[in-house]
Amino acid sequence: MLYRENGQFKTSYAADQQIFPIAQDRWAVIGIVLFAFIAVPLLVDEYLFRAILIPFLILSLAALGVNILVGYCGQITLGAGAFMAVGAYAAYNFHIRIEGMPLLLSLLLGGFTAAIVGIFFGIPSLRVRGLYLAVATLAAQFFTDWVFLRIPWFTDNSLSGNVSVSNLQVMGWQINNPLNKYLFCLAFLVVFALLAKNMTRSAIGRQWMAIRDMDVAAEVIGIRPLFAKLSAFAVSSFFIGTAGALWGFVHLASWEPAAFSVDRSFQLLFMVIIGGLGSIMGNFFGAAFIVILPIALNRLLPELGDLVGVEISTAGVSHAELIIFGGLIIFFLIKEPHGIARLWSTGKEKLRLWPFPH
């Protein structure tokens, strides 16, 4: 009843082609962004910021990057962790080696370096596809692991391969407390999400999708696979690399190559698959599912146990967490193979017809 576009007439192309053609959607998104910027800082405590919201925001950004490559361009990648590592270590090197380097520039240069490395590891995609490509990108993972563990220059000759940063600030704004870190990551995410949304709606996004749907046909109608595939690798790696730099700088502040292991790559791929391939908002669902759910389960299970008078051991909770989490993944993949984002759009479709579905 409330969610319906009746009476919203478009009088110009611009109005017709805006991101959210339905006014209710537009207001809701603006409301949510304002809520995230203004209300969330007033409501939540330090724990939520540090342990849940900041990782959620950064991994959403990384998932956004993975989704561009996997969901929009159809190139399966298992190298996301590697590109995060490249972003983090490149940003670190720019930051400490160049005196007075602004933080924002370091982070973006980290992303940029990751983009270059991404293009390099994207070259095999011109010849191999599908699972074979996944294996080829896995090489990126092992290569970066090797580089950051073996070549001391990249880790500033740190004795153990561990690096750390401190005194982060942007034009006098100290990014030292959880609130500022949250706002910093949120700003990044909003800008990058907008960028990604617009990119996928533009010519380049359509090229990616054409390649994804059928690359031979796309080539026949005049899309250059080289450009389309490598640009997807570049943009995706840029997003992932920036997320990696944020993960190192803002979330961990001190990290080792193990922070970007192959597990991270799998985690990001799962986020995208569960959230919804080829959907921007799916990333947020996927990231929420993977980041928040295990921690929520871990905290709620003992409480639930207390309610019914059963004491669950720490190991028991941990195992139950894995079982329930795995079960839910299977449930979602069976019930909705297109990801949670599809559930969301089905829900919206139903809401439009409500309360008269026939």
Binding site: Y47, I52, P55, L149, G161, N162, H251, S254, L300
Partner: protein, 445 residues
């Protein structure tokens, strides 16, 4: 649209979690809270579980004996799975509970690095008994880190002493070849700088052989050992990697009595399954080995396990890693006790006060004996500038069935070698972080 879910998720979890947090905070006062970061699942659980059991059993024992001058201990476990991001999450979750955490002991080098950045902000000391970053011994720079009882650098230095002794003097080290088989992580790499520093002095050759985590794939490593025939092999393993290394040594016929493990490569789970095949293999310990006959263990068995109040299986009480957890716990409790001497007996101490206590630990042999640690460990004395407190290492050998000490087994690390390295590394850290090291005057405040 996309952000709608984010916000609803955030607000929902905010409601749920903050209500949980209020539940937790409503505990009665007069309790000293010890958070316990545990790894009871995953590939390193066999090693980390006895540690956690020992840690908790000692806290229970303290309560059974009336608490710390009347202040009861209370603890809360959080499962980390040895993942750095979960360690950070657990830290954030636990640090504010029950009126604030006393100390954190992450039992992970990666976790130690991450928490080192957070501890000074929250003013909670970090005890890393035997692990963590070796340069954090310098309390002037690492004001909240306490690598009590030893670091990996201490271990490496002692390893060379041990080898020199076996060869009949440091003069015989010249021209010898020593291989280091290490877990390819910040943890495993900690041993390298000291070995390289000493090789300049004594003229032996170091061969570095990294093993990718978790360490089940070592065929290539041992092939290299077979070809190079090093005179000694040092092992910095963790969990399943140790077992594999010993099996490979057996397969390649490398003599086990020429192998020396660090203190994560010298517990029962590391050798038990190889049994006779590991006979002759030695490992360093943090002063203690398996101590089933010590007074404190008997006390725990009598007051806790006999009544069904113990943690974990009764059979493991007194094992090497159980003892490690127990001693780590004891050091934390003694830090609180010391702090109470200054800030008021029978009061709950804050993290900052406990740090003072940990910086002024003075456990002489009489005190240790009275606490039931006779024969288990030697005195510990810390100061503001020395956060380690003791540099004694004991070496034990596997006889095919259990670990036993074969004298001479006590070694003390040479401070003349290590102190300059600690100062150099911590100085570099201070410079990077733009920290001003504490002066001795500031210490006494």
């Amino acid at each position: 649209m996309n952000l709608r879910k984010l916000a609803s998720m955030a607000s929902l979890s905010a409601i749920v979690l903050s209500s949980l947090a209020t539940l937790a905070v409503a505990a009665p006062a007069k309790e000293q809270f010890f958070p316990v970061l545990v790894t009871r699942t995953g590939p390193i659980a066999p090693n980390a579980t006895p540690w956690a059991n020992g840690y908790i059993d000692y806290l229970k024992l303290v309560n059974a004996k009336g608490g710390i001058n009347g202040v009861k201990t209370v603890f809360e476990e959080c499962e980390t799975g040895y993942a750095t991001d979960r360690i950070v999450e657990c830290y954030e979750r636990l640090k504010g509970m029950h009126g604030g955490a006393t100390v954190f002991q992450p039992l992970s080098t990666g976790g130690t690095f991450a928490l080192t950045e957070k501890a000074p902000v929250d003013k909670i000391p970090l005890i890393t008994a035997g692990y963590g970053r070796s340069e954090s011994q310098n309390g002037a720079v690492f004001t909240w880190n306490f690598p009590l009882l030893g670091t990996y650098w201490v271990g490496s230095e002692v390893a060379i002493q041990y080898i020199a002794k076996k060869l009949g003097g440091v003069g015989n080290l010249k021209g010898k070849k020593i291989a280091l088989v290490y877990h390819d992580s910040p943890y495993g790499k900690e041993a390298i700088p000291v070995l390289e520093e000493l090789s300049k002095k004594y003229g032996y050759e170091v061969q570095l052989l990294p093993v990718a985590a978790p360490g089940v794939e070592q065929k290539a490593t041992w092939l290299q050992i077979r070809q190079a025939r090093p005179d000694f092999v040092l092992l910095s393993g963790w969990g399943v990697m140790n077992l594999t290394a010993l099996r490979e040594a057996q397969a390649t016929g490398y003599p086990r009595d020429k192998m020396l493990g660090n203190w994560w490569s010298g517990a029962e789970p590391d050798v038990r399954d190889v049994g006779e095949g590991a006979k002759g293999y030695s490992a360093m310990t943090l002063q203690h080995g398996a101590e089933p006959n010590s007074k404190v263990v008997k006390e725990i068995l009598a007051t806790l396990h006999a009544k069904g109040l113990g943690t974990g299986p009764k059979e493991e009480v007194g094992d090497v890693l159980y003892m490690r957890g127990l001693i780590s716990s004891m050091l934390a409790v003694e830090g609180v006790r010391k702090a109470q001497e200054r800030y008021g007996k029978g009061k709950v101490m804050t993290g900052e006060q406990v740090r003072w206590g940990l910086e002024h630990l003075d456990l002489d042999q009489k005190t240790l004996d009275a606490m039931g640690f006779a024969g288990v460990m030697r005195p510990v004395q810390t100061s503001c500038l020395d956060h380690m407190g003791s540099s004694w290492v004991r070496i034990h050998t596997w006889n095919g069935k259990k670990w036993e000490f074969v004298s001479p087994d006590w070694y003390q690390a040479d401070a003349n070698t290590l102190r300059p390295m600690v100062m150099l590394a911590s100085g570099k850290y201070a410079e990077e972080k733009k920290l001003k090291p504490r002066t001795p005057e500031e210490c006494n405040k």
